[in-house]
Symmetry: C2
């Protein structure tokens, strides 16, 4: 393999299959798929979605919206509470695309009203149990206040309510994910029922990779916004969202040292390449990646008894509980490692190498405008 | 403050004081200071070292060596087991600077012998107790083998033994750090004694910010290689390496939502801005940063009862156990956060903003050659 330094490999075929799977599921459930592009952040990967009919997307920063707008996307939701310090960029984007922003507090809506120059779609975030951010469904006074504010500006178009079930990431049972999902759909519909007379067109949007992957029925909402499923990773496999075979990205790292006395291999590949997320194991230890073998088609399923057990800034330590396998690797070999959290690994790696040798860009490798 | 998005602030005065402190300590101990530049990775910050007489540096990748060589540094140690897949770059660098590389296994030395075209200084890494990588001091056969190999090439110049006491990062008592340091100095000298007749000029190099910060006496070695002290961070403050006042970098993040019901503030600033390292608290919880107030001179000491308690990809959650302080922050304000691990925060932020408004570069924001 012609790789000299840590490299993020992308299996285009698996990635396109993941994209197709969710397109098909959304169609079957008659919900709009507005995939979250924060995982791949790549103009070229975006095209694979476009080829499958996707026209509306989700991003997690205004800069990301600007990037994808520059690549021809014109219906973009920025699914993080609006940063009112970037009103200049909001107006710039709103002048040329259908921009959707999110508010949690009245102050954000007031800032929008005061400074908007072009039409923007406003979504109100509902906290359905994850408790990161959002208005709780029973906070009627707060919701009334925000929704009343939206009627004060002709440029501000109240679009509906959105939620993110981040707590599905802590589950490993389909039934638990189903209960979280049902709860969120129920709560969003409660809120819709309260306001649908005043805002007849209001929509409901939710999205997280575990529920959108694990569940076959996704009813009761208008839109889903999963993101990670484009690549998946070991965290999603642990949750049950995917099989190992569906994971579409893999790190390739040179072996730089070997320690036969403790069956450890040192990789050139550390926290600046993988990021620092880990996955708790049944024995209480944590791992930072799993070892795969490269094959003519890509890479194998993870090898048993081999894992990345620690990460320094540029080094990774792989422990292999199998003497023959340990001996098989030589200094200068390239080892394949499935990442724990593909969103963060892609963000620090800043580009992809496809299995047929093409370099695809990631926004974090694109110089700041 | 004219900041719209998450920004890494750099207090040049504190940074220069940190640089000067270690220059003075090295001079007093008559050891060469070869600071590790992996923390700042910035050509401009490098100049502040040069102004204080530094001529030899440490880096953690050949790309980083290439970057600093392009900025006029010509004595560079790449303190990670040599990646033999980058021999082209090794030769390119060795043709124009004094390049120092590290080996742990004979195979690496053999690859160097077979492919070197220009002189390179070779250091052998000794594992003095951290157990990440290195040859243990009692592995005489391994050491004999490696050192014999070095005599086979006129281009390979055996320079000496180096160690990294990464286990000092787990300590919070000066005495423990002193014991680790003394052990390493003792072990390195044992190894030197064994080989000094055959290699009379061989040197000893060690380096980690905790021991170089906490201890006043750094004798028995020729060179120290601390790096993080250029900025310090909350991890180093926790260890006892620095005071809060010495921390020279601070994140500035916009407030995008408020949750008065649970005293939580949502920042635009997540794991793609801070990286994911955390700091364990006495109560068993972890934090991802501490809140400071901006002042005309920079920023304050951390506020009591306020910390970043979780990080998503782009959001951070700050919990403030003080109603008046919570109320003081408004949506659209910029909050100051001291980072847990400045090396990784700088790596993901990709640039710095000095307090007088200059942008300094970080290698990770420089497009790949």
């Amino acid at each position: 393999m012609d790789i000299a330094t840590p490299t993020l490999l992308l299996d285009e075929k698996k990635c396109r299959q993941n994209i197709a799977m969710m397109v098909e599921k959304a169609a079957r459930n008659q919900v709009r798929l507005r995939p979250h592009f924060k995982t791949h952040q790549s103009a070229q990967v975006g095209e694979w979605f476009r080829e499958q009919g996707i026209t509306a997307i989700t991003v997690s920063s205004l800069r990301m919206a600007q990037y994808f707008a520059a690549h021809g996307w014109n219906d973009i939701m920025v699914a993080i509470p609006m940063n009112i310090r970037e009103m200049g960029l909001v107006n710039e984007l709103a002048s040329r695309i259908q921009l959707h922003v999110v508010a949690v507090n009245p102050e954000t809506v007031e800032a929008l009203i005061g400074q908007l120059q072009y039409p923007v779609n406003l979504w109100v975030k509902i906290d359905t149990g994850y408790h990161r951010t959002g208005v709780t469904p029973h906070s009627h006074q707060e919701l009334d206040h925000i929704l009343n504010l939206t009627t004060r500006s002709e440029l501000l178009r109240f679009a509906g309510f959105l939620a993110h079930d981040g707590h599905t990431y802590k589950q490993t049972e389909k039934e638990e994910i189903q209960t979280i999902h049902n709860t969120t759909v129920y709560l969003l519909n409660l809120v819709r029922d309260r306001y649908k007379n005043h805002f007849p067109g209001l929509q409901l949007s939710l999205g997280d990779t575990p529920s959108c992957s694990v569940l076959e029925e996704l009813r009761g909402v208008d839109e889903i916004r999963p993101g990670n499923y484009v690549f998946y990773d070991l965290t999603q496999q642990h949750i049950g969202s995917c099989t190992y075979e569906q994971i579409a990205v893999c790190m390739a790292c040179p072996v730089v040292a070997k320690h036969p006395d403790r069956n450890e291999i040192i990789l050139y590949g550390g926290s600046v390449h993988f990021s620092k997320d880990n996955l708790l194991q049944e024995d209480g230890s944590v791992i930072f990646g799993r070892v795969v073998e490269f094959t003519p088609q890509g890479w194998s399923a993870p090898l048993a008894d081999a894992a990345v057990v620690s990460l320094s800034q540029e080094h990774g330590v792989v422990r292999i509980h199998n003497k023959a396998l340990f001996d098989h690797y030589r200094i200068g070999d390239v080892m394949g490692i499935l990442p724990i959290h593909s969103c963060l690994t892609a963000d620090v790696m800043k580009s992809y190498l496809t299995l047929d040798g093409r370099r695809l860009e990631h926004l974090s490798g694109v110089p700041q405008w």
